[in-house]
């Protein structure tokens, strides 16, 4: 596959390491009273869609950017690739 890196342009998928569902960005508060329940869902429960999927890829053989790649798992069509840091900030993550 070819991943359209937002900074570096088209790059071969072999340069990347795949992690999984981009929902891993939405890490709950580890000090919340119900943290164990929340982290159980965060760590173990994922959707596994046959179709459009937002997923995390790490440009390990490149600039070390984590990307959120929106990809159709049936056709491998890549609909977008964003810097994960921008996505995290847009989701309200900060410090």
């Amino acid at each position: 596959m070819i991943i359209p890196h937002p900074l570096l342009g088209p790059r071969d998928a072999a340069e990347f390491v795949y992690l999984g569902d981009a929902s891993l960005i939405a890490r709950p508060d580890g000090l919340a009273p119900d943290a164990i329940d929340q982290f159980h869902s965060y760590t173990y429960l994922r959707d596994n869609p046959a179709g459009v999927h937002r997923e995390l890829w790490y440009h390990e053989q490149g600039d070390r950017s984590w990307l959120v790649v929106t990809r159709n798992t049936l056709t491998h069509e890549i609909l977008s690739a964003e810097l994960a840091r921008d996505v995290a900030r847009a989701e309200g993550r900060s410090r």
């Binding site: 070819i2 890490r27 709950p28 580890g30 164990i36 982290f39 390990e60 995290a88 410090r95």
Partner: protein, 990 residues
């Protein structure tokens, strides 16, 4: 027919047509077939040279060991699989039809016991009634005891065709990467037009063709283009393409797979046509990155099923033309032609004009008037059966006529080569008018199809389609076509009326390679294996090296006939890469032996080699395992000595391989608090702290030390094997979880050479190394760190940390000083009798000291199990904190890391033994844990162990069984503290 005049010293080639062919008949090449020497000419394949020499019977079939001949003239060949070359270069299962002849080629037939002609396994043919479809599944079921003793050895002995040399492949293979605007797959008439259009327009073009002579069917037919022979036009087109800098012409290159996003795989056979590779890569596996691709892969002819249609001499009609027109060979002296379409007529025509006797032209269609190019013309009938044990001699027709023929050319229609178009799951669609599947609407991204591959089989139409399609692609890519006219060509007659199967007594072959007959397909249908996918697996139709190129459509048509359905109702299988076999050697490329993956050498490697080191792989690194000295008789001698000398005086170990991550920024301390389970925010400048890292599921996966060099600057170490994973996880935390922390990371593992200096004399030794630094315990205590210089100005970092349990330091210098540093340290240390030590002594000392390592970090290990549950801070949010606190992970009676001594001190312990309470049964229900690491302790004088034991912290002094059924051992052991020596840590703090 004219036989060529023999050159001096060469035998006549009885079937050579002296005035025909695109070969150089003025020169002869010698080759050996089954031990006999023959001659061919430059431009021949092994198949054409064998046919020229009258060799029809060249193989035994897979299952029934029936005599088989050469069936095709291209990559689709199902029958003529041979072994090429000898010794280590021996290559089994090679298609004779694509093996280029060279002087000195040796080839042998395969899949027979005894000679090719006298194969004793031909007996299988008499057993055929018992070997029909699915016989494996029915026969090898019972009795169960027969499986290992009888069935498996029998199946293994029967499986496969050729034989491996069992020696290492002497050749080298390479991988390559290319980019282009347009990849044209196939250099037949359509592909040449496309490449010319795109090349003249200035696009970056790759034109790949599997043949050694580009031109496709133009080389095999007598078509005229611009009033000249088609092959002459092809030669001119190739010359023009070769003159264009933006066109890369790749012959002997098979595009074998269409992958995601315009990536194609191609195999270039660079030296297969030469006697030796001469040190150059034999084959190159190319990865082609394309913006657009045009599939001009042509079409493959298929056969017709009738009784005994597999004899040597029965061939595809197009192949017979190829041999006559391209290679100047007639496959027989009395040739009959069977056809269901106009294209078959041309075989009779071309043979007759070459002077070959055509005994009959049989057209299955009624009401057609084939040209009179045969001794007799039969229409509305077909071949009912054939005779000739080792090769065709006679055919009988459905109308009762019997005709002499030593070659039968069968024209069953052409199937477009849709393979690459369905590599992304696109399903081909059926076209009744040409009785063939064509590429469907869902093509791989960026792919178009033109010419015969697209169901446009006639010459002028194929070229016109290629031109139109290419112009549209060029427009997409922003190039403008030059508007050159198409060369003049005409469309040959190509009308077809589907005809598949002559139903009569006797076995009618569908898949020659797998010995699948029409009867097998009927049987599969009857036994309810009715979907195409099940048919394939039940009968093996379409499997193995040819992947059913000549068989699939015929098999599908017969399945449809058996089911009383149409072909579109019956469906089709799709294709996966590779289009033709790709050798494992090419897939591996240079990644063989020690080059299988990259490995790294430490800065002291050269010095270690000079000093008798034995090396061991640790992660990606080669590390010194021990340093043998003269007189030492085994590794234990060296390791015991290294431990004793270190504990008695001082030892040095290269610890460069531990991962090093430089962490800087105003929020670096807060960041470390998030990634380590224990607290780091309050670590003072100039101090080092030990930390453990958890996965988000609460399991401990790595540990190491982090030093604070300034308020905003930390240096982290990781274990050797996890250096990459930890860095990746830190980047994830930094970019995805806490994106606004001011923190920056860089891996400096390669930037610093680092040495542990351990032992009671470590301070004395280092005092002679560092410049102006007070190393006293007061000024530089345990867990202190500083930046400093050594040997009069060389920059360095000094950490007072200890893995061995001794008074110890780690000193780091920039990597370029690593070699001189080890030499200097050893020189300075002479007065202390300093010893280098390797990973074995390192391991002994960490086990003596009770430190855990890879053996203990199994991916199921909690901090509590390591006795470090209290280190996990609950006052801050760190990765893994919440799930590490689940009730099952902090149970008091869970496994705990403890130490073990053998009750009989003379017995050596073994890792992997399981602990049992005395008197309990030996089963998993009573399992108490297991031994993880063992060593022989020079200090204690006996074997010691570490292990996980249920409720271990409360069982000190208890005697258990270390039960080891794998090694047949059962040892009484006493539970002790994991800190076998110096449990208070007085030495490292001294």
């Amino acid at each position: 027919m004219t036989q060529n005049s023999a050159q001096p010293g060469s035998k006549p080639q009885p079937n050579r047509l002296s005035h025909n062919g695109l070969i150089d008949q003025s020169r002869s090449l010698n080759f050996t077939w089954n031990g006999t020497q023959y001659q061919g000419h430059p431009g021949d394949t092994l198949a054409s040279a064998l046919l020229a020499n009258g060799q029809r019977f060249v193989a035994r079939s897979f299952k029934y060991h029936r005599p088989r001949g050469i069936f095709s003239a291209g990559p689709e060949e199902p029958s003529a699989l041979v072994q090429l070359r000898s010794g280590a270069a021996q290559e089994p299962n090679t298609r004779a039809t694509v093996a280029e002849l060279f002087d000195g080629l040796t080839a042998t037939s395969q899949n027979h016991r005894g000679s090719l002609e006298g194969d004793i396994l031909a007996l299988n043919d008499w057993l055929a009634p018992f070997l029909s479809a699915g016989f494996y599944y029915k026969t090898f079921m019972w009795p169960a005891a027969f499986w290992e003793k009888v069935y498996e050895p029998f199946i293994r002995a029967s499986a496969g065709l050729g034989k491996l040399s069992m020696q290492a492949d002497p050749d080298i293979y390479d991988h390559g990467y290319l980019h282009c605007d347009l990849l044209v797959i196939g250099a037949g008439p359509a592909g040449l037009i496309a490449a010319l259009e795109a090349g003249r327009a200035g696009a970056r073009v790759i034109l790949a063709d599997e043949d050694f002579r580009p031109g496709g069917r133009l080389n095999a037919e007598t078509h005229a283009i611009d009033d000249a022979p088609g092959h002459a036009w092809a030669t001119r087109a190739i010359a023009e393409l070769a003159s264009l800098d933006n066109v890369r012409l790749m012959t002997r290159t098979t595009v074998y797979g269409a992958f995601d996003h315009g990536v194609y795989g191609a195999l270039e056979r660079c030296t297969d046509h030469l006697p030796t590779s001469g040190g150059k890569p034999r084959q190159v596996l190319w990865r082609l990155y394309t913006k657009r691709a045009l599939l001009c892969a042509g079409a493959t002819e298929r056969s017709i099923a009738f009784a005994n249609n597999d004899r040597p001499g029965i061939m595809l009609a197009g192949a017979v033309r190829t041999y006559a027109n391209r290679y100047g060979v007639t496959p027989g002296t009395r040739v009959a032609v069977l056809t269901n379409n106009d294209d078959g007529w041309r075989t009779a025509q071309d043979l007759q004009s070459a002077g070959v006797t055509v005994t009959a032209l049989i057209d299955t269609r009624s009401g057609v008037s084939p040209p009179k190019n045969a001794d007799r013309i039969e229409t509305g009938c077909a071949v009912a059966n054939t005779r000739g044990r080792r090769g065709l001699g006679q055919i009988s027709l459905t109308n009762g006529a019997v005709i002499d023929a030593d070659c039968l050319a069968v024209a069953g229609g052409w199937s477009p080569n849709v393979h690459l178009s369905s590599h992304q799951r696109g399903r081909p669609t059926w076209r009744d008018d040409i009785a063939a599947f064509v590429p469907g609407s869902e093509l791989p991204q960026g792919m178009s199809v033109a010419g015969a591959a697209n169901g446009t089989p006639t010459l002028a139409a194929a070229m016109a389609e290629a031109q139109t399609t290419t112009r549209a692609l060029l427009q997409d890519l922003g190039h403008s076509a030059t508007g050159a006219d198409l060369p003049r060509a005409s469309d040959e007659p190509a009308s077809i009326s589907a005809f598949w199967h002559v139903k009569a007594k006797g076995r009618a072959w569908v898949d020659l390679q797998n010995d699948v007959t029409a009867k097998d397909i009927y049987q599969s249908q009857k036994e309810a294996f009715r979907s195409v996918e099940l048919l394939k697996r039940y009968t093996t139709l379409g499997m193995a090296t040819d992947q059913g190129k000549t068989a699939n459509v015929l098999g599908l048509a017969i399945l449809a006939e058996a089911a009383g359905q149409t072909i579109p109702e019956t469906g089709t299988t799709i294709f996966r890469p590779p289009y033709t076999p790709v050798p494992i050697g090419a897939l591996a490329g240079r990644a063989r032996g020690k080059d299988f993956r990259p490995y790294r050498l430490t800065p002291s490697h050269k010095w270690a080699e000079e000093n008798g080191a034995t090396f061991v792989e640790t992660g990606p690194w080669m590390r010194a395992q021990w340093f043998a000295r003269p007189g030492e008789t085994g590794w234990r001698d060296s390791v015991d000595r290294e431990v004793r000398m270190t504990r008695n005086s001082v030892g040095i170990c290269d610890v460069t391989t531990l991962g090093k991550i430089d962490i800087q920024g105003r929020d670096a301390a807060e960041f470390l608090n998030h990634v380590y389970a224990n607290g780091f925010a309050k670590l003072p400048v100039g101090k080092v702290r030990y930390g453990i890292m958890l996965r988000e599921d609460g399991i401990c996966y790595d540990d190491g030390t982090t030093a604070r060099l300034s308020e905003t600057h930390f240096v982290m170490t990781t274990t050797t094997v996890n250096a990459v994973a930890v860095f990746r996880n830190l980047e994830f935390a930094r970019q995805c979880l806490w994106p606004d922390l001011d923190v920056h990371l860089i891996s400096t593992t390669d930037g610093w050479a680092q040495y542990a200096v351990a032992g009671p004399n470590a301070r004395a030794l280092l005092s002679k190394v560092v410049d102006d630094l007070d190393l006293s315990n007061e000024a530089f205590p345990f867990m202190a760190c500083t930046e400093c210089t050594v040997f009069g100005g060389t920059p360095a970092r000094l950490f007072r940390i200890s893995f061995s349990g001794e008074l110890a330091y780690e000193i780091a210098v920039p990597t370029r000083f690593g070699d001189s540093m080890i030499r200097a340290l050893m020189e300075v240390g002479k007065e202390f009798d300093v010893t280098p030590y390797g990973t074995e002594a390192l391991g002994v000392m960490r086990i003596e000291k009770g430190h855990f390592a890879g053996n203990e970090l199994t991916g199921q290990t909690t901090a509590a199990m390591l006795g470090l549950g209290g280190m996990v801070s609950k006052k801050k949010d760190s990765i893994g904190l919440p799930l590490s606190q689940r009730s099952e992970m902090i149970r008091d009676d869970d496994l705990r890391l403890v130490g073990f001594h053998p009750v009989d001190k003379g017995i050596d312990l073994n890792a992997g033994a399981h602990f049992l309470t005395k008197g309990d049964p030996e089963d998993m229900a009573h399992d108490q844990g297991w031994m993880t690491s063992v060593a022989w302790s020079p200090e204690l004088g006996h074997s010691i162990g570490l292990g996980f034991l249920k409720n271990g912290q409360n069982r000190m002094g208890e005697t258990l069984r270390a039960f080891d059924p794998v090694r047949g051992k059962d040892t009484a052991v006493t539970v002790v503290s994991p800190h076998h020596i110096d449990p208070e840590g007085a030495r490292q703090r001294g």
